[in-house]
Amino acid sequence: MDPFAHRTANLLVGNEETEATLEMTLKGAIMEFREAALISICGGDLSPSVEGIPVPLWKPIYLKKGSILHFGYCRSGARAYLAIAGGWSVPRVMDSRSTYLRAGIGGFQGRGLRAGDELASGEPTWLGGLIADQLAGRLHGAAFATADWGVTGEMLPPYSVSPCVRVMRGNQWDWFTEESRRSFLSEPYRVTPQSDRMGYRLDGPLLELIEQKELISEAVAFGTVQVPPEGKPIVLLADRQTTGGYPKIAQVATVDLPLMAQTKPGETLRFAEISREEAERLLMARENEIRQLKTGILLKYT
C-alpha cells in the first residue's frame, strides 16, 4: 500500500526493492527471532520495541538471536513495513511475492499471518551481510544495535493525519458539475470504515454528473478516484481491480500514494490539483532520491 516505505525498508537492509516485506495494519505482531537478523521498520509507527526499548523507524537495526520484537499501539500512520536482510522467504506466484487475500493466493499460504506461524528469510546480499557485521560489532550487550544512518526526514513523504493529496484531473473530470469539481478540490473527505487495500470509500460532499452517462469499462490504476452514481468517491489502491466502469474524477499523483496509504478510517484528507507534468516532475525527483539513497548505502560499505 505504501510503496515508498516498502521499497526503502528493503534498501536499508541491503535487499533489492522488490523483496517481500511484512505489512502490518493498525496492529502489529509479537515475533521471536530464532536467529540474529538485520531488519528495518518503515512507514507507520506501531510502537515497535525490544526488551521495552523503542526501536527507531527508517534505520537498519541488528537484532540478537532470541530477540522478541513487540509491536504495540498505532502512534501514527496506519501501516508498518518490516524488512529483513535476504527478504521474507515466500514463493513467487504469477511473478509476485505479494499476498492477494481476496483470491487466497501469494505470500504466506495466500493469507494473513496468525499466531504460531514460522517465517524464514532468504540469503542476505553481500551488502546486507556487511551492514549486519558492522552493527553486530556495536552491540556491546545492548538489546539491539541501530545504524547511525537511515532515511532522513527531508526525504520522507509529508505523512499527516489529515494530508493534502495532490491529484490530476481524471479522464471524465468534465462530466462532473462545476459545483462538484469545486467541492472535490476544496472540502475535506473522510475515510470510511468500508475501506481496505482494494479501495478507500470516502465521505464528503456528493459528486454529481452533469448528465447520467454509462462509461465503457476501461483500465483503472493505483490512485484512480472513481465515482459511483450515489456520488461518494472511491480511491482505488493496491488490491484494486484492473478495469472499471465508473467515471474517474481524478488520479492521485504517484508521489502522494504513501500519504493515502497511511491514513486510517475516521481521518480526513483534502485534494489539491496539479498538472500531469508537475506530477511527473515530482515522481522523477522522488525516484532520483531513492536511487541516491541506494547508491549512498552502497558507497558507505565499499
Partner: protein, 247 residues
Amino acid sequence: MMEATFQPLGDQAVVVQFGTAMSLEAYRQVRRVSAMLDRQSLPGMVEYIPAYTTITIFYNPMELYDWYKSFGPADLEQDSCSPYQVCCHLIQDRLDQAVLESEEAGRTVDIPVCYGGELGPDLGEVARLHQLSEQEVIEIHAGGDYLIYMIGFAPGFPYIGGMSERIATPRRKSPRLSIPAGSVGIAGNQTGIYPMETPGGWQIIGRTPLRLFRPEDNPPSLLRAGDRVRFVPISIEEFRCFKEGSS
C-alpha cells in the same frame, strides 16, 4: 489502421483509444495491439490492460527516461522530457509500422447458469424495469450470441458483449460490498461473471458453478478474450450437484 487517440491515466499510464463506441472494429484493433505488444514489448513497459475500445499501457517512468537518454533524439531538451510524451511517441511509431495479422479463432465455451432466486437477486428488478417476466429475461439472456471482449476487473472476470438491448440495465446506484463467486451480472448492455467474491456494482441475475479463476493454471483464467460463450440455464438442483468436468 484505425485512428488512435491518447490520454494519460495519471503519471504512469497511457490510454490508447480506438473510437468512442463499442464496436467489433475497435475490439479487433485492441486485440491486434495486444498481440503486437506480446511479440515485442515497449521500453519501460510494465503491463498493458486491454478493454473494449481502449488498451492502457502502464510504464515505469524512470526506465522510459533512461531509455530516452540513451536512444532518444539528441536535439530535444532532456530536462523537458515527459515520460508520457515519450511513451505516446513510441506507441504511435509502433501503430504506424504495425503489420495487421488476422486474429486466431476463439473457442466456444458453455456456461451453466442457475438464474434468479437467491443466486440471482436482481433478476426481478431487471424484469420489472423492462416489463418482462423473469422467464423472458432468462430466455433472452441465455439465447444470446456472445463474444468475450476482455478479461478484467478481478482475475478471470470476462466482459461479454452481444447481450440484447431488451435486457440492458444500468449498474446499481451503489456497489454491493460482497458478490459471491460465480455470480452472473448485467451492466448496461454488457454481461459478465464474477470469478471470486468481491465488491461490485453489476445487477446479479444468476450464478454459475464453474470456477473461472485458476491460479494453478497457465493462463490462470478459464476464459479468454476472443472466446464465444453460451449460457445454459440449469436448475438449483443441478447447480448443487454440479461437479466440474461432468458437464
